[in-house]
């Protein structure tokens, strides 16, 4: 009856919109499904593993020799090896990455930034095997030439070079976060008589902290998960030590080395790989969750 009312109703069904929505949902689903698949694939052999080796033995044992007779399954040396290498990586990557980000975002002239940022991102694309060899054939010999008592394979070299590898990641993401801080905040601080360093450290870094912490977490995750450098430069000696110049075996190095070896499918050695993988997964997950909470707590929301 009334001519005006139908105007608000749908004239043509917009099928296109539904299709796009479905396709996008599918994309999101693929990554979630893959993650679930990975966890499931890790879980099954791991559960079998823990039927044969108790959790207590696994996590409290200080001896790791799964491929020898009698086999021992104390994973602590691998965890300590991973943490030790990661520690040195973080010691290098956090200050240098943050420093580079502050320089690029706050100090560099626009032209310099334009040239440096892509260069940094290219650096992030160098294959890790190159870094691994650099650690083994250049960095370790360099340390020795300084007269340091360094083993050929050692946690320190692997960690430092891993840190260098991660600097671009930390710098690039931190810089993005710092760039997103509104200029008006900087102006406000300058207008109060702050110098550049004070503006950077007291205003920009706190305002960008969630992005900066995210860059650290991503960097650390890469260090924890990094395989090639650890395998090539840290060695494969699973000893429980925090001494930086001693060889260690990381969890990833164990997985890679054992994975490409000839362990029969279904054997206890085979299941060990998955148990270590699951442990690695849980550690990374825990760290990410912790970081998210940390960021929530200290974030300075602008706007």
């Amino acid at each position: 009856m009334q001519a005006a009312a139908p105007r608000l109703r749908v004239h043509r069904r917009r099928w296109g919109e539904g299709v796009v929505k479905g396709a996008l949902a599918l994309c999101a689903l693929v990554s979630i499904a893959t993650t679930i698949g990975i966890v499931a694939a890790l879980l099954e052999p791991s559960l079998e593993f823990f039927r044969e080796v108790s959790l207590v033995d696994f996590f409290s044992g200080t001896d790791w020799a799964p491929l020898f007779e009698p086999a021992r399954f104390g994973v602590l040396p691998l965890i300590v090896g991973t943490l030790s290498v990661t520690f040195w990586a973080v010691v290098v990557a956090v200050p240098f990455g943050l420093g580079a980000a502050i320089y690029l975002s706050e100090y560099a002239r626009p032209g310099v930034r334009k040239a440096l940022k892509p260069a940094l991102e290219v650096l992030a694309g160098v294959p890790t095997v190159v870094y691994g060899y650099f650690a083994l054939v250049t960095f370790t010999p360099f340390l020795r030439s300084l007269g340091l008592d360094v083993q050929i394979f050692n946690a320190f070299s692997a960690g430092v070079v891993m840190g260098i590898m991660i600097i671009p990641t930390v710098a690039s993401i931190s810089e993005d976060a710092m760039n997103a801080v509104p200029q008006s905040l900087r102006d406000g601080a300058y207008a109060l008589g702050s110098n550049k360093l004070e503006v950077s450290v007291r205003i920009v870094v706190p305002a960008a902290i969630s992005g900066i912490v995210a860059s650290f977490v991503l960097g650390i995750s890469r260090a924890v998960g990094e395989t090639m450098i650890a395998l090539l430069a840290a060695g494969q000696l699973a000893q429980l030590t925090f001494v930086p110049f001693e060889p260690v075996e990381t969890m990833t190095a164990f997985i890679a080395a054992t994975g490409i070896g000839d362990v029969p499918t279904g054997s206890i050695e085979y299941k060990t790989i998955f148990a270590v993988g699951l442990t690695l997964f849980v550690m990374t997950l825990a760290m990410n969750l912790f970081a998210i909470r940390l960021v929530r707590k200290y974030r300075e929301v602008y706007e």
């Binding site: 406000g188 300058y190 109060l192």
Partner: protein, 283 residues
């Protein structure tokens, strides 16, 4: 050439509540033939005027005539814009503000600024006000200093029970008064305000205008405003800027048209362009 107000006005046509005419006032800034360009294109050209102590001096004019550009010259904020160049001189108590020995960081400690859009730091209310004193190393009596600044900015009663809360939880008007308090906390001599009330409701605007009347006893205030009633209400001296368009070179440059006692600018301007603007026939 623009004559200074002191030359033209014998000191009689001043605002009724102004204690004395500009001729008797101490000059804080003496601007001579100032030209500012962005990347070679001049945005403001040939400006000369004097800013007097304990006066509110207002800059009015159409959008794009260079008011913000001009006010940023007084605390050297234009230094932060890489493409900006400043020519001419600004004397601050007789000393060249752009002299080779002058440190812009020191300049900004003496000459504070409040921006058009409230820009509180994403920190607590207390930390916002304490920011300046901390940077200057004024750690003693910080609590009193923060309180005093908040009182001066007429904000203390509203925030005294929530100093630890985020400054972003305040309303827009409160945020702007917080920014004023933040500027006051370092005890500057001059406060520059670039359209401080343009984002605020009438009540907040009135509060900030009242505040300026209070503050000018202790401070010298320079304010940019789009609101002519506001200029008429708060300013002792008013400068009217306009845009000069050069059709041949497609260039637009801000110029100072007239600078005088506020009442003169609004009731009896000497320039036709000023009259057109203040009576609403232009811009």
């Amino acid at each position: 050439m623009v004559m200074t107000a002191a030359e033209r006005i014998p000191g009689v046509e001043v605002r009724h509540d102004a204690p004395s005419g500009p001729a008797l006032r101490e000059v804080v800034f003496d601007v001579e033939d100032l030209t500012v360009a962005y990347g070679g294109k001049s945005a403001l050209s040939g400006v000369s005027l004097e800013v007097y102590k304990n006066f509110v001096t207002a800059f009015i004019g159409p959008s794009g005539c260079g008011k913000s550009t001009f006010i940023r010259c007084f605390n050297r904020m234009n230094d932060l814009i890489p493409s900006a160049t400043v020519d001419g001189t600004i004397l601050y108590h007789g000393e060249d503000l752009y002299g080779r020995e002058v440190d812009p960081v020191e300049v900004r400690r003496l000459i504070g600024m409040v921006f058009q859009k409230p820009n509180p730091f994403p920190k607590s209310i207390f930390d916002n006000v304490a920011f300046g004193p901390r940077v200057l190393g004024l750690k003693d009596g910080l609590d009193d200093r923060v309180r005093h600044a908040l009182e001066q900015a007429a904000l203390w009663d509203e925030v005294k029970s929530r100093l630890k809360e985020s400054a972003l939880s305040l309303s827009g008007g409160q945020q702007q008064r917080l920014c004023i308090a933040r500027a006051l906390a370092v005890e500057p001599e001059v406060i520059l305000m670039d359209e401080p009330a343009s984002a605020l409701d009438p009540i907040s605007t009135t509060r900030i205008e009242d505040l300026m009347d209070e503050l000018k006893r202790e401070y010298t205030i320079v304010i940019v405003t789009h609101n002519m009633q506001q200029a008429a209400r708060v300013a002792d001296m008013t400068a009217f800027f306009s845009v000069e368009v050069d059709e041949n070179r497609d260039a637009r440059t801000g110029i100072l048209v007239e600078y005088d006692v506020t009442s003169k600018i609004f009731t009896n301007p000497s320039d036709q362009r000023t009259e057109d603007y203040v009576t609403g026939r232009f811009g």
